[in-house]
């Protein structure tokens, strides 16, 4: 587990698990789990490529490449905000419907 390909394949597996969860689950919390797993797969990809590949050639070629890590920091913060909003929606939906099954939330249809 030393090469870049290993990390990218683990990321692909996490992404596939997330897709499986999004397709099969009907519980809003499980859907949130699946989305979080997929976000982590994307973050892992960012870090892996950023750490293994050198900076593109050019004036900055000698500078250390912190772009991948920076993107992931932003992504983690965004994911935290997203999780907070989704959990608030789940709690409200539970108070209204006493269930968080997304196929039962008919009132959200247009």
């Amino acid at each position: 587990m030393n090469s870049l390909a290993d990390f990218v394949i683990v990321s692909a597996m996490l992404f596939g698990i997330g897709i499986y969860g999004l397709v099969t689950k009907r519980n809003a919390l499980r859907l949130l789990f699946a989305v979080e797993i997929m976000i982590n797969a994307a973050n892992l990809n960012f870090i892996a490529f950023g750490q293994y590949l050198p900076f593109a050639t050019g004036a900055q070629a000698s500078a250390p490449n912190a772009l991948g890590q920076t993107f992931v920091l932003f992504s983690i913060a965004l994911a935290a905000a997203e999780a907070a909003v989704i959990l608030a929606i789940v709690v409200v939906a539970y108070r209204l419907h006493h269930d968080v099954d997304v196929s039962e939330l008919k009132s959200l249809e247009g």
Binding site: G16, L29, L44
Partner: protein
């Protein structure tokens, strides 16, 4: 560590009791954090542990305990067709991506070329990406206000 990460992710989605699912999700996030450590990115790894396991996982766990119902444990699972479709879709994505990765020369990159420290990250965030940082702060504030508003409106409805 990769096995722990992927296995915990499967547990998170497939555990019958959703509390165990939340704990599995926390395990998976921790596994990703250790992979960040292995990738020589300790700052991001610590950030991941602090934000995801310290905040998001605990938030999810509290919400799960708040809205959990007994019937979920014995609830009928999705129809077998849906499960099959999901499994096939997920496996197809994994297979396609893995084959694509193995077809390239990514496995030849075996040494970490990068030694960016948190000083470099901080410099990048505070100079080149500072508008991103400000917008992100705005988004976070808006998200918190939105979440609070959602709960507050509901409470007023209850009292009427």
């Amino acid at each position: 560590m990769m096995v722990v990460t992927v296995g915990s992710a499967i547990i998170a989605l497939e555990a019958k009791e959703i509390v165990y699912g939340a704990i599995g999700l926390a395990g998976s996030l921790f596994g990703v954090a250790t992979l960040f450590f292995l990738l020589n990115a300790p700052y991001v790894a610590v950030f991941q542990i602090a934000v995801y396991i310290g905040a998001v996982a605990v938030l999810i766990l509290f919400t799960v305990m708040l809205v959990r119902q007994e019937k979920w444990a014995k609830e009928v699972r999705s129809t077998s067709f849906t499960r099959l479709a999901g499994a096939v879709t997920g496996l197809a994505v994994v297979l396609a991506l893995s084959l694509a990765v193995l077809a390239t020369n990514l496995s030849q990159f075996t040494n970490l070329t990068n030694s960016a420290t948190f000083v470099d990250i901080g410099r990048l965030i505070s100079t080149g990406d500072s508008p991103v940082l400000e917008v992100l702060a705005l988004v976070l504030a808006a998200a918190v206000v939105g979440a609070l508003t959602l709960s507050k409106v509901e409470r007023e409805d209850k009292t009427q």
